[in-house]
Symmetry: C3
Subunit: 369 residues, 3 copies
Amino acid sequence: MIETPSLVDQYCHGVLRTELGLGTFEAQLAGGEGLPAPGTTFFDTQTGFAVRRWCPPLLGLEPHCPPARYLARRRELGVMEAGRRLLRGSGITTYLVDTGLPGDLTGPGEMASAGAAEAHEIVRLELLAEQVADTSGTVESFLANLAESVHGAAANAVAFTSLAGARHGLALAPEPPGPGEVRGAAGRWLADRRVGGALTDPVLLRHLLWIAVASGLPLQLHAGLGEAGPRIDSADPVLLTDFARATAGLGTDLVLLHGYPHHRHTAHLAGVFPHVYADLGAELVRTGARAAAVLAEVLELAPFGKLLFSSGARGLPELHVVGARLFRESLARVLGTWVAEGSWSPADAQRVAGLIAAGNARRVYELEK
Amino acid sequence: MIETPSLVDQYCHGVLRTELGLGTFEAQLAGGEGLPAPGTTFFDTQTGFAVRRWCPPLLGLEPHCPPARYLARRRELGVMEAGRRLLRGSGITTYLVDTGLPGDLTGPGEMASAGAAEAHEIVRLELLAEQVADTSGTVESFLANLAESVHGAAANAVAFTSLAGARHGLALAPEPPGPGEVRGAAGRWLADRRVGGALTDPVLLRHLLWIAVASGLPLQLHAGLGEAGPRIDSADPVLLTDFARATAGLGTDLVLLHGYPHHRHTAHLAGVFPHVYADLGAELVRTGARAAAVLAEVLELAPFGKLLFSSGARGLPELHVVGARLFRESLARVLGTWVAEGSWSPADAQRVAGLIAAGNARRVYELEK
Amino acid sequence: MIETPSLVDQYCHGVLRTELGLGTFEAQLAGGEGLPAPGTTFFDTQTGFAVRRWCPPLLGLEPHCPPARYLARRRELGVMEAGRRLLRGSGITTYLVDTGLPGDLTGPGEMASAGAAEAHEIVRLELLAEQVADTSGTVESFLANLAESVHGAAANAVAFTSLAGARHGLALAPEPPGPGEVRGAAGRWLADRRVGGALTDPVLLRHLLWIAVASGLPLQLHAGLGEAGPRIDSADPVLLTDFARATAGLGTDLVLLHGYPHHRHTAHLAGVFPHVYADLGAELVRTGARAAAVLAEVLELAPFGKLLFSSGARGLPELHVVGARLFRESLARVLGTWVAEGSWSPADAQRVAGLIAAGNARRVYELEK
């Protein structure tokens, strides 16, 4: 039996502080991507079934109990107590929390105390740029404040994350934009922008990526599923090949998040470039009963030292539970099968499980120091 | 044991009325795509093996008997009687029949009586336009007759189907073409066209799609495998993302047919857009012993209320049998495994099986009224 | 139990003649694609684990023994004796050897005697062109010598192989370039070129392909994994669709090598075009414990008479062993499962196994004559 007592969730968000009804809970299950079709419900998805499989027992109910019964029990306990039971039942020992989502979500400190775990912050580059834009009067001050702000964030965060894939698509020019280009784009953006306006300009997105690369902190790039982007092929991680080549040897690691359905491309890049890592995030939570099959596909090309677990969860502690439970069960099943077939030795399987669950993340994010 | 007593084949064609020899039968197995290579036969394919697995017992022979023996028995019974036994043995209770293929194929009425089932018509948009072109003298009369003809067809059919993906590729501009653009394209097409000439003009293909959308009837779009198109990536359903966005909220459902090998993209779109549905068609018949594995991949992202069974069969009643048997066996095996693993409850598995086999199609095509 | 006593490795390279240390051996495991990341090793990959699973017993050690112990035993036996034991233990009965790689590698004759097997030569088109360029003074003599050289090579080789996919990408114009275009490209290439300079010009790459097609010898095209190309989507075999259409009916077979992760596209092309064949090469060696799953995906669309085994091995006889063992075990497991489920008959499974292991290659490369 393969065990993973330590579990680093290398990419997730906080949980909602408000009580949820059936409809608001259901909307969170789908990550806010549209409404269910008439006559259907988001509970009838792999994510919905996985929540009903893993979460009711943590609140004292039978697995697979009806959604209404589960939510009644959740409200009975209260959002705080239910969250505590769920997070503590997930098995996650360290949370790396992207704090850049809007909404009333808990931060790393609350995640740590609710989950009886460690927690660290991941800084979202685009939000940082938007906050700087909100408070900068001129192009020059914006650009100077931006560089300083990224530099300052690097002191307290364990990683940066970029949404360039969802904001513009990953078909970005791989090299850093020139200073004149950046000034021009910043001028146009600031002139047109209202307070809070989102950053989607490709020149500024690239500029941000390269400031982050210069910081030396690992840089997480959204690819494939996760954020609802313009078209799923515009987030194919293969589009990052030239950016990976351009950043090779600079000392900054790239972590490709949520590659599904192009996770074999992610695994390929992790095999070819020493500084590229592959995340197992949204694909496990989204594919539920199929998580082991998807995990096995990632394990084809990705070197075992280059894979990182995450839940990709946001809003509901149920999603942290599901991500963690599906990961552990899938990993134990996939590696256990290979041991039973004689393909892998038991010692190797246990060692690799420990790397993917926690060891690789500890090394990449320097969590021990 | 998961049962699906009702089975709606939401996309198929009729069967040939003529007796077939070994060579003509073999050609139908491959859907007419080229010849077998020297030294090979289309019987040595997943489809060929699946026909030999499922069909001989329905005609009183052993499974896997040699093709020549099977065809001798088929001729002995006669094409009508063999067809009756096969269709009645398929388990299909409702056929939705695309009547737009050339050749001497049975229509919905004959399918119903031969198969002791219900049957309804699906109207192929491009054929309708070609028929209207054959009988219209001017651009103005063509366009007026076309609109009227689509409107009239909507009264008797349960759905429209479009071959735009095979005729031109799915990389079509998503918005409706302007009236001047349509008149220009119609003028050029009618001027160059001989009677029976095929519609491939992208402006007119888009015009047809939008007339169909306005009718409110579900619109089936060929994507991935199925029809032999110019290049398989030109039929990637991801190319329909912008068309799906443009038609969202208009009240017309889109059904993406045969997405394989891009069926994970189809499933994604069915998850993101409330009005988009995913078909399980050609992939089951074409992949045979692998049908359960392919089905499981579709079940990763597609909400369970958005999946529709079809055989995609054409010409041979054997293909209806194979589509239906592979579907039922695959669904029972995949969902049964998830129940055995504890991932799904037995009641949920049975309910979802009923939705995919018949319930979703009944709701989308309003078959109960 | 499905047996494959004959095994034709239809695409491989020779093995290194020099003793290897831990570091040089590890680099060969990854095909020379970059360095391992700090804190990781290429032994922690599916290929590394498969080598440790299959090779130690052939040298008298326990499966899964540590790399250092394995390499000590290898050095103790000597590179020649270890190579003999490994190749003879692979089960390969015929090697088709691409002799166009640089480095001190054994040729077909040495492979035959070391492996107690047959061996034939595959000629790499680009190397031939580079050698001709090294010794030709003018454009006219280069082009005349090139045609003659390909013609001459065809007399002794069993196939040509082209790296156009890795050198330029497979998005090449499908038709043969015109004579003026070829002369212009040759003039520019020869003028700029130093001795040994690589051929990457797309016009000359296409010219070479068409000379090879005219020879009538099977033409192997690198696609997907294998050689480290510019971007993995530029080697998607779907890009060869128009070239396949342009060469249909000319009497020359095309063999698509290493399609992974686009192997379903390769299988599709093998199903649609009578002269297109699908190779099972690098994907088995690179995916190790997942080889059976990948093999099963190829078996979805590819007709069983169109599939060819290869190891794709280069440099290490361990890779020939791993390719052959993974293939045999995977094939027996996949087909055996289908027999156990009743999907295939035992006789069909055994027959198909023989075709993929050896029969198809014997027919395509005319190895019996």
